[in-house]
Symmetry: C2
Subunit: 335 residues, 2 copies
DNA sequence: AGTGCAATTGACAGCGCTGTCATTTTCATT
DNA sequence: AATGAAAATGACAGCGCTGTCAATTGCACT
């Protein structure tokens, strides 16, 4: 039989309210009382009834993760991070896939929120840049945290990574390995990350006193297919690069595939770098050198910020989390 | 201001209880009354307070999805199916990643369930075969639906697909295309699907009056790497197969990759079939002919079964959902 | 010992809904 | 028109918790 707060109160010889105070970490409880209550609660394996709590406090103890991201991997990691953050705080995560292409996405969200009011929302890209959505959330006054938004809103805290710096590091790593002829494959032009990653590449090249060879910078759109096209251009040009940095793993995989078809050995004749550290990066042969985004960490941080918002005075406009350059087998020193 | 059931009751000129009955589709309400209440509810944009409902009815209107599956794609699809099923019934889905390798997985689950009691649980593989977990669920008397379990429990309804039949169809398709020398790459020996898929292959070969060439049946473990090894064996043997059926897409991708390295053209010289229809299957060049599992559908069905359990008299031991043979570019007629 | 103030504790209502059971209405049948 | 059973409706308590506010206790200081 599940025990209630009343059971704990009786057993500990205090009032329900005091038990409630202890369980919610409210101040003004004598240390001794607090310990006794905690001990009894543990003994009785008490855990509060979420519905009752929610009803009384008009909180839901629920966070929602909104997404419309084609990458299951990205979503899975964000989810995991958010769930882990929720777990210790008695919160839970509900997930809400949303379809970007529907015309009335704002209404759809509003309807969902009416049915299931949540205490906060995690917005993942590309949803975090949708004006309709943001308007609805502001109007409904629901706290939210955008993950990796294009433009940082000035009124809410967001969570992100530094694409420019990551891209800089990958490029610098290649240059440090003696590569001078560098190729770059851009991402989808409408994706803000594309610009940033290219920027980091340019910065690193220039920082090394080299020059960006614009003929070796090719457009792509993050798809494997576009990577194939780009790789064909780069690998059949007369001044073939010795290293190619693709803006994501799918395109990097395409480079490896095209190289293999053309009899160019990776990493012997060509180093290849990707971005994202998708499962693909380890499936491939050779395994891809790539950038691991702090996806899990961003999910974790976003949830934490919603559960325990920092005081207004030490609110940061955004939290930038650490990425990691993962060196695997697709890159090596230039001969 | 959010409206309550009382508002609707007043506006419709009935009692709260009648409104409640209408909203819960209970019988014994005059058709006229029902319509009136529904109209008012719509007008007021009323939607019930989940917490209050849960508290009063001691139901949670929450379903949990338990998983420890390395494939984000699989999970994402199950989730999507389950969520869509929940959406129309006022249910919501919370997700619970669980770690198979922890020693006290049963306790961990029990703890979670104490904190967040749910009305039902969807168990995905490989969790659905864990005795500890099943014991806990039975003891706690929480309804659950296993998805694609190895052994069908006799007391609960499960949801699955027909691996044997799917595998049979792929093989038959290859044979129908004139292939006589067929290679097969097995899956992980401890995964029940491996056996079933191999069985379907054997059945189809024999049904066609052919014989299974055991030299062309190679072990694998579902990983890309194991696929590479298997492909090397198959493609360098003197009696090279004209078609290879790999037990999953990762291994099929490995076959394509090895073939390309060896100068064997796919599908010109070699047809390749996979299983799962992972995103990889479409990323690859050529795109993989494969089997699409009804993952979304299984998630949907599992949730539906929990939300609205069939009457005991027409309970089925399991629901087998339709897979689909997806013919893409990695297979063609044998010359 | 007496005073005042802060720290601690408790009594109680009520969050929005559903379950129970009593009451009223409807309607086929005599 | 009278009767009875079934259908429709409503009154009310109470689910388990927290917010409000009042009551009590502890303690430093006269």
């Amino acid at each position: 039989m599940k025990s209630t707060i009343t059971d704990v109160a009786k057993q500990a010889g205090v009032s329900m309210k005091t038990v409630s105070r202890v369980l919610n970490n409210e101040p003004n409880v004598a240390q001794k009382t607090r310990e006794r209550v905690l001990a009894v609660a543990k003994e009785l394996r008490y855990s509060p009834n979420l519905a009752a709590r929610g009803l009384a406090s008009s909180k839901s103890y629920l966070l929602a993760l909104l997404y419309d991201n084609p990458s299951p991997n990205y979503i899975a990691n964000i989810q995991k991070g958010a769930i882990d953050a929720c777990r210790d705080s008695g919160y839970h995560l509900v997930i809400e896939p949303l379809n970007m292409n529907m015309d009335d996405i704002g209404d759809a969200l509003e309807l969902r929120l009416e049915r299931l009011p949540v205490d906060g929302i995690i917005l993942t890209p590309p949803l975090c840049d949708d004006e309709n959505l943001l308007d609805v959330l502001k109007r409904l006054k629901i706290p939210y945290v955008p993950v990796a938004p294009s433009r940082e809103p000035d009124d809410v805290t967001s969570v992100k990574m530094d694409d420019v710096q990551a891209s800089f590091e990958m490029t610098e790593y290649m240059i440090r390995n003696g590569h001078k002829k560098l190729g770059f494959i851009k991402g989808h032009p409408e994706h803000s990350a594309s610009t940033l990653r290219y920027l980091g590449f340019v910065k690193a090249v220039e920082a090394a006193g080299l020059e960006v060879d614009l003929d070796a910078v090719v457009d792509g759109d993050f798809s494997f297919k576009s990577g194939v096209k780009a790789a064909e251009v780069l690998l059949t040009s007369k001044e073939r690069p010795t290293a190619i940095f693709a803006s994501n793993d799918d395109m990097a995989a395409a480079v490896v595939s095209v190289a293999s078809r053309l009899g160019i050995s990776v990493p012997g004749d060509l180093s290849v770098g990707g971005f994202d550290d998708t499962p693909l990066a380890q499936i491939l042969y050779p395994q891809l050198t790539t950038i691991k985004q702090p996806i899990y960490e961003m999910g974790h941080m976003a949830a934490s910020l919603l559960i325990k918002p920092p005081k207004p005075e030490d609110r940061l406009p955004s939290y930038c989390l650490d990425h990691k350059l993962i060196i695997r087998d697709s890159t090596q020193k230039s001969e």
